[in-house]
């Protein structure tokens, strides 16, 4: 059994050297968010109403942007092939990818959320709900994008295909996350939505790594 440590260290070192890989999606997230007030008008009440959906759609798009390159380099330079050939369990590699992906794309969104709340005129109650849904939802988003990236790693035209694969699976998350934020803005309890999101996260965490390892093996053989 290979431990997680070395893989994670390698992923983080790669991220530290290729800053564009994780900086670009974060910048993209902020740019998409700042486009909405320009597009629909700067009316504060309108912004507050559309904020939940806008935030979550921007989050998805930025994670998608990062997803395409997840396994590409490791596939091209033969790392994936060597790992499959070495007959060591791929699970540690996949989990390290997952964790690094969340740290580089999910966590920045959570950290940026105060700024987003300011930009979109979100009140305090919805802001707390936003942070909670982002904390529960972005790991799930990472799981889905790792899965999509693993499925399409050797495909000729990965980009748009990745979106087509991930979007259908992402819709339940979008519905519950924005429902939680909407309930919070009306001062209603939203524990139910959070519980469902947590359930989805745990379920995906249990099964997605298995699907990812077998997808990588199929792509290599």
């Amino acid at each position: 059994m290979v431990t997680l440590g070395p893989f994670l260290k390698r992923e983080l070192r790669l991220l530290a050297r290729q800053k564009a890989d994780w900086l670009n999606p974060v910048l993209f997230f902020l740019i998409v968010l700042s486009l909405f007030p320009l597009g629909v008008g700067p009316e504060p009440n309108l912004l507050r109403i559309i904020a939940p959906g806008v935030i979550w759609i921007a989050a998805l798009l930025s994670v998608l942007l990062a997803a395409e390159r997840l396994f590409k380099d490791d596939y091209r330079n033969g790392v994936v092939e060597q790992l499959v050939a070495s007959r060591q369990p791929l699970l540690a590699f996949v989990l390290a990818k997952l964790l690094a992906n969340w740290l580089s794309t999910g966590l920045p969104l959570v950290l940026l959320s105060p700024l987003v709340a300011l930009l979109l005129n979100v009140d305090m109650a919805s802001f707390i709900a936003m942070v909670l849904t982002l904390l529960l939802g972005t790991p799930l988003l990472s799981l889905l994008s790792v899965l999509g990236a693993a499925l399409t790693v050797s495909a000729d035209k990965g980009g748009i295909l990745l979106a087509l694969l991930i979007l259908p699976l992402y819709i339940p998350l979008l519905i519950f996350a924005s429902a939680a934020m909407e309930a919070a803005s009306m001062a209603l309890p939203y524990h139910g939505q959070l519980a469902v999101m947590l359930a989805m996260l745990l379920f995906a965490l249990a099964l997605v790594p298995l699907a990812v390892t077998s997808a990588l093996k199929i792509n290599v053989s």
Partner: protein, 244 residues
């Protein structure tokens, strides 16, 4: 125990089996389709609330049921393809996907046509409509993914994996009308309770559902035979059949 199944993993056997079954399946399907639809569209009494416009049920409900049924058939084939590496199962995943996509599209379009007079709108973002739309995207994803690889074998395997992952959506669609309070009505036919639909309307509906089911199998036979020929074109038995 399952030794009798083994010959059916051989493409040649499946090809001939499909060839033998196809005319019967297709004939039965067309007969039942005509019977169910003519009976349902012309000879059932109008609904006391919805008048004549409810008659689209005879297309809408069978297509909707089979959009999910076809997906589960595809997922089972995909599971067999992944676990036991049966080639025929892999090809049948790709053979089923377009059939399911068309059924889903029929369910969505007839649903829209039914929604316009009843709800006053073509489309609402209601739980069941949304999840059925997601199902269509899943089918399209499987089809697109299978075609995205230069190696056909890899494409088929990856698409199978996606089909298995997408099964998660089936219970969501099925129970969406019960979990969320939505515009779409609940199920009229269930196994356990007495159906909430009059017998005079129920019988043609059941015949239509059966017809869609058999039609799916017939189309699957046609598409699977083509897939087998394409994938096995260099094998001796195909060459012998083609006569060179």
């Amino acid at each position: 125990m399952f030794k009798w199944l083994h010959p059916y993993a051989k493409p040649e056997t499946v090809y001939h089996l499909c060839g033998r079954l196809m005319p019967w399946l297709m004939g039965t399907a067309l007969l039942l389709l005509l019977l169910g639809n003519i009976w349902g569209l012309a000879f059932t009494p109008p609904d006391y609330q919805q008048g004549d416009s409810y008659r689209i049920i005879h297309l809408h409900v069978p297509a909707a049921i089979m959009s999910m049924g076809t997906y589960s058939a595809m997922a089972i084939a995909a599971f067999i393809a992944l676990v036991w590496q049966v080639k025929v199962a892999q090809w049948s995943v790709l053979a089923i996907a377009p059939i399911g996509a068309v059924y889903t599209a029929i369910a969505l379009i007839t649903g829209m046509a039914w929604g316009k007079p009843m709800w006053g709108t073509w489309w609402v973002w209601d739980a069941r409509l949304t999840s059925e739309l997601i199902l269509l995207f899943l089918y399209l994803g499987v089809i697109a993914l299978s075609g995205a690889f230069s190696d056909r074998q890899t494409g088929a395997k990856v698409a199978s994996l996606l089909a298995v992952v997408g099964v998660i959506n089936l219970p969501i669609i099925h129970f969406s009308v019960e979990w969320w309070n939505t515009l779409h009505q609940g199920a009229s036919i269930t196994k356990f309770a007495k159906p909430s639909i009059d017998p005079s309307m129920l019988w043609p509906l059941l015949i239509s559902i059966l017809a869609f089911k058999i039609l799916m199998l017939a189309l699957l036979c046609v598409r699977l035979r083509t897939a087998i020929l394409v994938n096995e074109q260099h094998r001796p038995w195909v060459k012998a059949m083609a006569g060179d």
